[in-house]
Symmetry: C2
Subunit: 225 residues, 2 copies
């Protein structure tokens, strides 16, 4: 160790990529920066992590205060994504950001102190810092998770139709899936079960409602459609 010069740590920050579905499109939660740098640009919700707080604790505090998001109650899934640490990513000085990816459904943001909005991930505005690449990375991670876990429950209501489930997969993966194969495959996995309830809406046949068997994140072996 280098005992000779006084040690100074980089600034430690946390940022969250929070996804939810609006309609059939995947959206990500952004806030508008009210200060320099990148004043007026959209950015991921995030902030500082001070000594004594874990990154997750810091993130919970910061999202609560700034964007009115309650990590524990509003999200169905949250995990650490990656740590971004290039020296130049923040023009004010070296800041290392530990990022998280999570998702929820019908999230209501209360008492945000910053301007916030949900943006479709396929048409993002100009973003501050390296946040655009962080979002792309997060979306890839989520898409990968869908293929080998029951993470889709994080984006859906408790009960859902198979069509809604399929369109969730399509929204995250960004491509269309075959209806018959999807249903056959998913039912054979044994992750979900029928409920007695039906979904009635519009001038067409009602749909059976299903629910996930397990509330926790469950890992399978591999592969999807």
């Amino acid at each position: 160790m280098n005992y000779s010069s006084p040690y100074k740590a980089p600034t430690l920050t946390v940022d969250a990529v929070i996804f939810q579905l609006i309609g059939e499109q995947l959206h990500v939660l952004l806030t508008k920066r009210s200060d320099e740098p990148f004043k007026g640009d959209w950015a991921l919700p995030g902030g500082y992590c001070a000594e004594g707080s874990t990154t997750l604790e810091a993130l919970a505090m910061v999202t609560k205060r700034k964007v009115g998001l309650d990590l524990d109650n509003d999200l169905n899934y949250l995990e650490q994504l990656y740590t971004f640490d290039t020296v130049a990513r923040d023009p004010r000085g070296h800041a290392v950001s530990v990022t998280y990816v999570g998702c929820g459904r019908a999230i209501e943001l209360v008492q945000a102190t910053q301007e916030v909005a949900w943006h479709p991930v396929d048409t993002l505005p100009n973003l501050a810092y390296d946040h655009e690449s962080i979002i792309h990375y997060a979306r890839e991670r989520l898409a990968a998770k869908l293929t080998y876990t029951n993470a889709a429950k994080g984006l859906l209501e408790k009960k859902f139709t198979l069509s809604q489930l399929q369109s969730t997969y399509e929204a995250v993966m960004g491509r269309l899936l075959d209806k018959r194969n999807f249903r056959k495959k998913f039912l054979s996995l044994g992750l979900i079960h029928e409920t007695p309830d039906m979904w009635r809406e519009g001038a067409h046949r009602p749909a059976k409602l299903y629910a996930f068997n397990n509330d926790n994140l469950e890992a399978l072996s591999r592969s999807f459609d």
Copy 2:
């Protein structure tokens, strides 16, 4: 942001889980701690990351000095693993560690300033901090990588026999594989090609030597034996 109280960042550290094969066993590089805390225990090579260095740059400096490992030249593969940040993991105070996992072959450590040794991952000594769980996590990551990338080249010589390749997979995954299926599968993937050379050793038939087609990390779609 909280402008009112002076911000103090946690200490930022970096740690590396470096694997290589010795014989047919997977080994991990450890150093013996010469100071408190955990004096006398084995630990992952690591150290501080100061403002102005990326975690990777800091790791390169620290491994070079302490254990004589040259990240750029001694390793065939290195990637960020996870960031560990529980407040209690270091008894001296809050230290957040960005960890990396990598591997190489026949690594020669030169001019280490600390006591270093390669330990079989299946029989680890008592480890400092949370390093035992970090190693387990790293091994799982590496095993996963083997199933969908050509990461095995990181652990092998440039030229290798199919038996050596198979025993590499077995060492990392911790289970035995079927010889005929393994060879059939691997050759059909098109990741490797025959060389004109043969491996001669001992009182038995010589083996063809193969090499990977691509020097870079290459991702496949899925699944393995």
